[in-house]
Point group: C2
Chain length 476, copies 2
C-alpha cells in the first residue's frame, strides 16, 4: 500500500535500503558493498552472495527473497543472462528500483541481447519496478552516500549530471574536482530501457539542491518530451548538453555503445536554438562551462579586455577571442591615458591587450593599480587575465611562492571589480611550473574565480555564456 | 678584409666572441653573462660595464672600444635612447652582428620611437652591421651555447623556431621539452628593423641540422620574398606557421607589439594553400604538429581506428575526429570477427571504436593481441589510442606502476605496426593520475610515440598532417 510518490526519483536517489545481488567477496572494499560503507551510506545494506556468510562484517543472504527487511533499491551485479530470474525475485520482494549494471543487452546488436533487454523491461513494468540501465554505472549522490567509484569526492555541490556513459560521468566528476566544483547527484543510465534522460531531467529541474544541470546523451526515447523538459529546465536553471553521435560514424559508435538512435543533426541544432540549452562537445568543455556559470558574473556584452605578460601571447589571445565570437576593442582614450600612469614602460601595450610590468611583481602591481582602471573602461565588458607561467621567468624555488603571493593579490583585487573576470592559467611542462600552476589554481578557485587551462578554453566558455544570457533576456 | 660569408647567419648563430654592453653586475647569474657561461658558450665573452672591474670572474670593459680582441656579436642590454651611440661604437669596433634587446622603438607608436629605430637601422646598414631586433630576446642555440633564458634545456634537437615574439618562443621551448622535443636554433627577432623572418627562413631551409621549421610571425617586411622562401622551405622540410594578428583587433594588437602590418586574411589563406606551409593558431598546436611530423608515420589516408576504454569516450572521440575532417569507418567484417576472439565480452564494441577489456590489464592484453588485428584492417589508415586515466579505475598507489607496465607493452607492440599511431593521454586532476600521466608520457615519447593531451589535439594534428602529405604528393 505504498503511495505513488514512493517511486519518485527523489526516493531512488535516497533509498532507505540497498541490496547488492552478486556482492563481491574478493576485494570487497572496491566492490559495491565497500563503496557504500566507505562513502557513508546510512541505510541498510544487504549483500546477496550464496557462497559466503558475511562481507565486510555484513551478513550475506543467498537470495533477495531471504532478506526479512524491506528492500527499496537493488543493484544487480550479475551477468546479463541471469538478470530475468533475479528481476522476478525483486518483483516478489517488492523492490522499487533496480540498477542493472551488466552489459550484454541491446547494445551488442544481437537478437539475443535485444530480447533479454525487452524481457527484463517487461518484468520491471509489470512488477512495478523502475529500472536503471542496463549497461550502466548507476548513481553517485554524495548527500545519500551512494557512489559507483570509491575515489569520487565526498564533497557535496550544486551540479547534477545525467550521463548515458559511465566513463564520461567519471571524467566529469574528476575534472570538476580539479577546479573545486562538486555534485548534487550524478546518474549513469546506459541503455535507458526504462528510465531515460528525460525522467532524470524532469526530476533535477524541480530539485532544489541542483543549481546547474549537465547531460551526456547519445539518444533519447521520446524526442518531443525531452525537448519540452529541456525548455522547462532552462527557465529555472542552466542546462549544458553533450549530444554525442552527431556525426555519421559517431552515430554508428553510439549504437554499439548504448543501442541509441542518435537522431539528425539539423533537429538537434534546432533543439539547442529553441530551448536555450548550452551545447558542449567534450567533458572538458562541460566542466569549463559549469565553472563559468557558477563563477563568472553576467557580462553586459562580448567585449573582452585582455591582460597578461607576453606581447605575442596577447596578440594570439586577441585572435582566439575574436575567432570565438568575442571582441577585443581598443580601450577608451581615457583608460589608455590612465594606464600609462601605471605602466609607463615602452613596449607594454595599453591599447588592449595590456601588458603589466615584467615579472610576478609587475603582475601583482597591475592587479592592484591597473585592474580598477580596466574595470572602469567604457569600451569593454569582460576581463580576461592570462598567466603563461613560463613567461614570468625563472623555474626557481621561489616560483610557487611568488605566484601564490601574486594570486592572492589578484583575489583581493577581484573583490571590488564590477566586471566579470576569468583567468587562463597555463604552463609548458616543467615540474616546477606545473606545481606553481596547481597552487595558483587552488587559490583562485577557492576564491570563486573561474580558471581555465588556456585562452582557447576561456574564450569558448565566455562566448557560450554570453549567448546563454542573451537567450534568457529574449525569453523574458 | 673579411669574406662576405662571415656575415652569413651561420656565423650569427655561432659567433666566436660576444660583447654584452650593459652587462648586469647585480644577479649576474641570471643576466646575459651568466647565461652564456652556464650554457657552455665556448667563445670569448666581453662584459661591458664601466662601474665594476669584473663580472663572474670575467674582466669588464668600460666601453666596447676598449676591448682589444675582435668582437663578432654584441648584445645591447641598455635603454633604447642610448642605442645610437653604442651602435656607432660597434661600427667602429667592426662588430658584425648586434642584438638590440631593448623595447621603446617603433612598437610604441610614437614618432620618437619610430625615428630612433630608423636611426639605428641606418647606422647598422651604413656600418656593415646586421641588426637583430630591436625589442626582442635574441638567440637560443644549444649547439653554440647561446640562450636568452637560463632555464632552457641544453639538449640539442632538429627544430628551428623563428619567432617575432619572445614570450611565444619561451612557451614553445618549454612545451616541446615536456614531450622530449628539442631545438636546433631559436630566434626571437622583434621589430625586424633589419633581419626579418624571411632572412631566418632562408637560412634554416639550407641548414642541415634543421629538420622542421616553425615560425611565429605578426607581419613580414617583404611579402613576395617570404612567400617564395616558404615554398622553397616546404620542398625540403615541413614548415609550421602561426600567423598572428589575422583578426581585426588581433592586427591592432600586433601593431602595439612589434609595429607589424599584419596583412589581409585572404592573402594569408592563399599563402598557406599555395606554399603547403602548415597553419597553426597557438604554440600548443605548433608543439603538437611538430611532434606529429617527427613521430607519426605518413598515413595512407584519413580513416582512423579508435581504441580505448569508455564507450562514451569512444563516441565523443568519433565525433571529434569526424569534425576534424577525419573518418572513423567500421572495421572490415574480417577484422570484427578476429577482434571478437580477443574481446568477447559484451558491451565492448568491435565496430570501431573498439574497447579493450576492463582495467589496465585489459588495455595491455589488447595492445599485444588486438593491435596487430587493427593494424591489418583494410578499412582504416591510422590508429588513435585514447587513455583517459581516470577511467582505468583506482587512484591507488599501484596506478603509476600499472600504467607504466601497460605503456611499455604498448611501446613494444607499436614496433611491429605498419600503420601510424598516436596516443591521447589525459586525466581529470587527481595528483595521483597527473603523476601517472607524466610517467606514461615520458615512456611513450622516449619510444618516439606522439602523445597528445586529448583526442581534440590529436585529431587536429592528424588532419593537418594528412593534408600536408597530400600536398607533397600533388607537388611531386
Amino acid at each position: 500500500m505504498r503511495a505513488k510518490t514512493d517511486q519518485s526519483l527523489e526516493r531512488m536517489f535516497h533509498p532507505a535500503s540497498i541490496a547488492i545481488i552478486g556482492a563481491s567477496a574478493d576485494a570487497p572494499e572496491t566492490g559495491w558493498v565497500g563503496r557504500l560503507l566507505n562513502f557513508g551510506y546510512k541505510g541498510n545494506i544487504f549483500p546477496v552472495n550464496p557462497k559466503v556468510n558475511s562481507i565486510l562484517g555484513l551478513k550475506t543472504y543467498s537470495s533477495i527473497g531471504e532478506i526479512s527487511y524491506p528492500v527499496e533499491y537493488a543493484i544487480l551485479n550479475i551477468p546479463a543472462r541471469f538478470t530475468p530470474y533475479v528481476m522476478r525475485d525483486c518483483v516478489a520482494k517488492g523492490v522499487k528500483f533496480v540498477h542493472c549494471y551488466a552489459a550484454g543487452f541491446s547494445e551488442t546488436g544481437t537478437e539475443a541481447g535485444k530480447q533479454l533487454e525487452a524481457e527484463i523491461t517487461k518484468i520491471a513494468k509489470q512488477g512495478g519496478i523502475r529500472l536503471l540501465g542496463p549497461n550502466c554505472m548507476g548513481i553517485y549522490s554524495p548527500r545519500s552516500g551512494m557512489t559507483f567509484d570509491e575515489d569520487f569526492p565526498k564533497e557535496k555541490g550544486g551540479v547534477a549530471f545525467i550521463s548515458q556513459s559511465g566513463a564520461e560521468a567519471s571524467r566529469l566528476v574528476f575534472l570538476c574536482q580539479d577546479v573545486d566544483l562538486y555534485f548534487n547527484k550524478v546518474v549513469s543510465y546506459g541503455n535507458a530501457a526504462d528510465l531515460d534522460a528525460t525522467d532524470f531531467l524532469e526530476y533535477v529541474t524541480q530539485d532544489a539542491g541542483t543549481k546547474i544541470v549537465a547531460i551526456y546523451v547519445e539518444g533519447v526515447n521520446n524526442g518531443p518530451r525531452f525537448f519540452t523538459a529541456a525548455g522547462k529546465c532552462v527557465e529555472k536553471k542552466p542546462l549544458v548538453i553533450v549530444k554525442a553521435g552527431l556525426t555519421e560514424n559517431g552515430a554508428g559508435a553510439a549504437i554499439s555503445h548504448t543501442a541509441s538512435m542518435t537522431g539528425v543533426k539539423t533537429v538537434w541544432d534546432a533543439f539547442f536554438k529553441q530551448t536555450g540549452a548550452i551545447p558542449a562537445q567534450t567533458m572538458d568543455e562541460v566542466a569549463d562551462i559549469v565553472q563559468g556559470l557558477m563563477r563568472v558574473k553576467k557580462p553586459r556584452g562580448r567585449r573582452v579586455a585582455i591582460i597578461g605578460r607576453g606581447g605575442g601571447i596577447g596578440v594570439v589571445a586577441t585572435d582566439i577571442c575574436e575567432r570565438a565570437g568575442l571582441q577585443v576593442p581598443p580601450f577608451s582614450a581615457e583608460t589608455r591615458r590612465r594606464l600609462l600612469q601605471v605602466i609607463p614602460e615602452a613596449g607594454a601595450g595599453v591599447r588592449n591587450p595590456v601588458e603589466p610590468k615584467i615579472g610576478m611583481e609587475g603582475a601583482t602591481e597591475f592587479y592592484l593599480k591597473g585592474l580598477p582602471i580596466v574595470d572602469a573602461d567604457s569600451e569593454t565588458d569582460i576581463i580576461l587575465i592570462h598567466m603563461a607561467i613560463d613567461v614570468y621567468g625563472g623555474h626557481t624555488p621561489e616560483l610557487t611562492q611568488n605566484i601564490t603571493e601574486s594570486t592572492y593579490a589578484l583575489c583581493a583585487a577581484v573583490d571590488s571589480l564590477n566586471k566579470p573576470i576569468v583567468v587562463a592559467l597555463f604552463t609548458g611542462g616543467h615540474s616546477d611550473t606545473i606545481e606553481a600552476v596547481r597552487a595558483a589554481r587552488k587559490i583562485l578557485t577557492a576564491a570563486g574565480i573561474a580558471v581555465y587551462s588556456g585562452v582557447e578554453a576561456a574564450s569558448r566558455v565566455l562566448s557560450k555564456i554570453c549567448h546563454y544570457y542573451r537567450f534568457l533576456e529574449k525569453v523574458d
